[in-house]
């Protein structure tokens, strides 16, 4: 067997040789270790490694140690399905996780269906995974795109009832679907839509859209641009005075730790809905973030936190079921509630989507500040899965 993970396996072997003769539970981690999403894969790996070290040190799952098998998905579904088949049939893993891009999760989910194994994603956002493309063998423990919209819409309802909202998205499929999703939620809580515009990715000049934006006289602007596009959009809005008197809401990727410094003062007052923030004020999160920083030399982000939480759910399910076979573990995971750094998560049996508290964060003095938390039940949205 090949291991990429020296520390965990060393600990695992030490413990296994001393106390437990039982066979280890094998978990495959299929995540991008190279390419565009390698940064996300790194967080996934840190989170999972840390949880495995803790679980193994505390005696493993029902007395059995966890052994991880890593494979690089290269963020390419075509590579991911091949690697998933290898993990299922050659390495004989009991459970698989780590897929990042939604295309890979959907395709690997189908491999899991055909191999009669379970997978869980801790990263993919696409609503399809637990919606139109749901599968009895696929679970998601992170918040999907819709939950962010629900959280923001809940905030909008309370803070800006009857708001007039304008939408500005990047002109590609993901941009259009995030805008469409939020628009639907916002209108359902009584907001009025005053218009929408889509700017090409990597736009250098957003001022051409400001005329339409001002003419529509919105109270609230929703945007799902990301990365350097946000830097340009926000600074240009600031320079033109468009952002005065306007509340700006956005997707969770719009303003991040990576671009907040470049945006500077123009980011002030930006509001978004997230499933995790290091600022969550709970003893569980404090302990987790401290251990994470100590171990990995970096702050956890939502991917690290969601990945860390996953295996505690798997442990609880296997221990409740008393077995690792697919049917027993699936039944035990459905409806399971467990503790994570983000608070209590519950897997909804109807579509295998985890319900979790969502947080509305606002940029204040250049820092993300949690302004409100929305209960998991209020942010989950309807169950649209009809496959099981």
């Amino acid at each position: 067997m090949k291991h990429n993970l020296l520390t965990t396996t060393t600990i695992a072997m030490l413990l296994a040789s001393s106390a437990y003769a039982q066979e280890a539970i094998k978990i495959g981690v299929l995540t991008p270790l190279s390419g565009t999403y390698a940064g996300i894969g790194q967080q996934v790996r840190w989170g999972i490694d840390q949880s495995v070290e803790e679980i193994n040190a505390a005696g493993g799952i029902a007395g059995r140690q966890i052994e991880l098998v890593y494979e690089d998905s290269e963020a390419n579904p075509a590579v991911a399905v091949t690697k998933a088949e290898k993990l299922f049939t050659v390495d004989n893993v009991d459970f698989l996780t780590g897929t990042v891009n939604s295309g890979a999760t959907l395709a690997v989910g189908q491999v899991a269906d055909r191999a009669d194994k379970l997978i869980a994603t801790t990263v993919s956002f696409s609503d399809a995974i637990t919606g139109s493309g749901c599968s009895p063998n696929v679970f998601r423990v992170n918040a999907r795109a819709g939950q962010q919209s629900e959280a923001l819409a809940a905030w909008l309802k309370q803070e800006k009832p009857g708001a007039e909202v304008y939408y500005l998205g990047p002109d590609y499929e993901m941009g259009r679907s995030t805008v469409a999703a939020f628009k639907e939620r916002a209108e359902s809580v009584g907001a009025t839509s005053t218009g929408e515009v889509f700017a090409p990715l990597d736009s250098k000049d957003y001022s051409q859209y400001f005329g339409q934006l001002r003419a529509a006289r919105p109270d609230v602007l929703y945007t799902s641009v990301a990365g350097n596009d946000t830097v340009r959009l926000f600074t240009q809005m600031n320079d033109f005075g468009v952002s005065e008197g306007l509340t700006i809401l956005g997707a969770s990727g719009t303003v991040t730790a990576q671009n907040i410094n470049a945006i500077g003062a123009a980011a002030e007052g930006f509001i978004t809905g997230v499933g995790y923030s290091v600022l969550i004020d709970s003893p569980e999160n404090k302990a987790f973030t401290e251990a994470f920083r100590e171990r990995n030399g970096a702050d956890p982000d939502l991917y690290g936190a969601d990945s860390y939480g996953l295996l505690f759910a798997y442990k609880a399910a296997v221990e409740a079921a008393g077995a690792t076979d697919t049917d027993s573990v699936r039944a035990a995971l459905e409806g399971l509630s467990w503790e994570t750094p983000q608070g209590t998560k519950t897997i909804r049996a109807g579509d295998h989507q985890a319900m979790q508290p969502m947080y509305v964060v606002e940029v204040k003095n250049g820092q993300f500040t949690i302004v409100r938390s929305i209960a998991g039940e209020d942010a989950i949205g309807p169950d649209t899965c009809d496959k099981f």
Binding site: K2, P77, E85, K86, L106
Partner: protein, 340 residues
């Protein structure tokens, strides 16, 4: 007497037959040991071998560097996937994919064959990127998520019916299809038409002086390559049950180009050997180290430095010498096919 092209093609056949024998031995061994993963990986390698074969027709024979051959592989895969989702019929999917890539190849050829050299490479690259972006952003085609839910089909083959979910059966079927694509390519390149194509690579300016149209020959080679790539692509969703826009990306075209160069450009069989070797290497090295891209890159660089003609290209002179010696012993230099 000893036609160089004839000897060269017969040497290619030798390498292809070795591949077939290795494949059959492997299949027997794999099915005996109850393996699923490596059989399906080998099937994928053969499918990618079809894509590499199409690149070799352009690069190794016509002298055209296509950086966007994944375009036709992807169109074949998407058309096959869309048909299979509606109607799980193998022949319908192959037929629809074949007709679609034929039309797409003609359209692409009309654009790309207006230019030569580096501009041809850039245009083929650009066309593939444009179509990949369109697919990536079309919700009807599954957008960035791709299309899943392609059923495991039953393939009626006259007397027997084969399931695409049976690893051994589908591997053998893919081997037969790739062998057919190889045979058709080899046959066409051996005809007078094939010689015009090869003349294009040698010296394109002289071909019109011999009374042949360079445009028609280039066009024919381009469309032939498109159809081969598309038919190979049509097998992909049957094996993996999904398609995604990544199949059209440069990574797919680039990988296939590496397969051709490692295997040996201008040898046909080398393209398929290259696909098999690279796919197996990627799987083994990928599981061994997360720095697999560096290792693959080093292998590729050393292959170019130390074996510029590729594996088959390097071994081919020995086989050719043997074939020449054998045919010299025979009283009549009749093209003896059974000797292969």
């Amino acid at each position: 007497m000893h036609d160089r092209l004839d000897i060269s093609m017969r040497a290619n056949h030798v390498f292809f037959w070795i591949l077939v024998i290795v494949a059959l031995v492997f299949a027997a061994f794999a099915s005996f040991s109850g393996d699923v993963f490596y059989l399906r990986l080998a099937t994928e390698a053969l499918i990618l071998g079809g894509l590499a074969l199409s690149i070799d027709i352009l690069l190794g024979f016509t002298g055209l560097l296509s950086l966007g051959q994944a375009l036709y592989f992807g169109i074949g895969a998407y058309v096959s996937a869309l048909v299979l989702r509606e109607e799980p019929s193998f022949w319908l999917a192959m037929g629809a994919a074949g007709v679609s890539v034929l039309l797409a190849g003609i359209a692409g050829g009309l654009i790309a064959n207006r230019v030569r050299g580096v501009y041809f490479a850039l245009i083929t690259f650009g066309m593939a990127q444009v179509v990949a972006k369109v697919v990536y952003n079309s919700r009807e085609l599954g957008a960035s998520d791709g299309l899943i839910g392609i059923p495991v089909i039953e393939i009626p083959l006259g007397l027997i019916t084969l399931s695409a979910g049976d690893p051994l059966g589908f591997f053998l079927l893919t081997l037969v299809i790739i062998a057919l694509l190889y045979s058709v390519s080899a046959y066409l390149l051996g005809t007078p038409f094939g010689r015009i194509i090869i003349a294009l690579k040698a010296n394109e300016k002289r071909v019109p002086y011999l009374g042949y149209s360079t445009w028609a020959a280039r066009m024919a080679a381009y469309v032939l390559a498109a159809v081969i790539a598309g038919l190979a692509g049509a097998l992909y969703p049957m094996l993996r049950g999904f398609v995604s826009p990544e199949l059209l990306f440069f990574a797919t075209s680039g990988d296939a180009l590496i397969m051709v160069i490692v295997g040996g450009a201008g040898t046909l069989a080398g393209a398929i050997w290259g696909a098999v070797i690279l796919t197996m290497l990627k799987s083994v090295i990928g599981s061994w180290t997360e720095h697999h891209l560096i290792v693959i890159g080093l292998i590729f660089m050393s292959a170019i430095l130390f074996m510029p003609k590729g594996i088959v290209g390097m071994l081919k002179p020995f086989v050719e010498r043997n074939l020449l010696r054998n045919s010299a012993r025979q009283p009549k230099p009749e093209p003896e096919r059974t000797a292969l």
